[in-house]
Amino acid sequence: MSSISTINLKDLFLNGIIKENTIFKLALSLCPSIAVTNNLKNGIFMGLAVLFVQTMVNITISLMRKVIQPKVRLPIFMLVISGWVTITQMLMAAFVPDVYAKVGLYIALIVAFASILARAEMFASKNSIIPSMVDGLGMGAGFLFALTVISFFRELVGKGTLTVPTGLSTQHVFTFINTKPVLIMVLPAGGFLAVGILMAFFNWIDVRYMKKAAHASH
């Protein structure tokens, strides 16, 4: 891992969204990206929950990194992840029950996310608190972006609607087409199709435009 002082925090943040996007580039945590993205609202709430937990886990692991024995780091990472997930769930259920009723389902799923464990292992356990926090924010924002795009695509093509959260406990369904055009897109199999198509699309953009821009700037 390169030394922290040379890492630009803005680049570190953007790294999680573009260069190392959890879903489109690293192809990690594909289960949630398929399971909960059948409407836009689900995708957005899941993404926000991941953003929060990823950042908190990165901060905690970074603070603990000097006291963790390397040989038992994985069980300790798992404790931190499941601990944060459980605490978040309990506090939300106690103090914001309306919000919890809508997003509680998604938060419990986060325990099993490979991407969170991967960032704890690859980044937070080797870096100090500020870069770890920025890395968590970037990775979480990248995840939110990916889930939003996937769920937007799947709901629009599969159901002809878009379910937009207008508040934490309210939503608005926009109907564009009054039938179910390509129903398979909202079924689990369609999740694979959607992720595959979008992954190809973003890689194409990357090759077509990003590489060229990088080339021109040199």
Binding site: M64, V67, P75, L79, G83, T86, M90, L91, K159, L187
Partner: protein, 196 residues
């Protein structure tokens, strides 16, 4: 790895887990009474939507598909106007958590789907009012699911016959049957109250 290393590693893991456990216990200790009150409030709200203006009192618990469910008596001005029972139906990919409101003669007034994990786009149409309104006024003998157009019985959702059956022939039918058996044939209702 020497014995000393093993000891150090074990100690490290034990201490971290103990601290984690204490933090979780502390948060739970503070949050759980509030969570309990919130759940009770949410349940009361769900009941009020089923029979508006009624007062509810839990009569007891029952078990379906190994799940615990509750049933309530609904009163208005001291007079019994109906019952609400929670029930579960075994659907295509989940157990469907259903609340059923019946009147004094065990005719269904309204049903509500609280939670389920049926297929989006197909089975999740059990949540729609068009589907739920089919149950209004039906008694236990008219819960059969038909694939043809019907108003006498329950019409299956296209592409989601299993989810329809789970609600109608499983959750609702068993729930109402239990209520009839317990309340009508169970005799003295005041004995039931004491089970709380």
């Amino acid at each position: 790895m020497t014995g000393k290393d093993i000891f150090k590693i074990t100690l490290n893991l034990v201490i971290v887990y103990l601290i984690g456990g204490f933090i979780l216990a502390f948060v739970y200790w503070n949050a759980s009474p509030k969570i309990f009150r919130n759940n009770e409030k949410a349940e009361q709200n769900a009941l009020k939507l089923l029979i508006p203006g009624a007062e509810f009192k839990q009569l007891g618990d029952w078990t379906i598909h190994d799940k615990h469910a509750k049933y309530f008596i609904a009163k208005k001005g001291g007079e019994t106007i109906g019952y609400v029972i929670q029930s579960f139906g075994k659907g295509y990919s989940s157990y469907i958590n259903t609340f059923i409101a019946v009147d004094k003669d065990f005719k269904i007034q309204k049903i509500n789907i609280l939670a389920h994990g049926e297929t989006p786009g197909l089975g999740d149409e059990i949540e729609t009012d068009v589907f739920k309104d089919q149950f209004k006024g039906k008694d236990i003998d008219h819960l059969k699911v038909l694939k043809t157009e019907t108003t006498e019985y329950i019409q299956a959702l296209s592409g989601a016959t299993i989810s329809t059956r789970a609600v109608s022939e499983d959750a609702v039918k068993n729930g109402v049957a239990f209520l009839i058996k317990t309340i009508r044939e169970g005799g003295d209702k005041d004995v039931q109250h004491q089970h709380n």
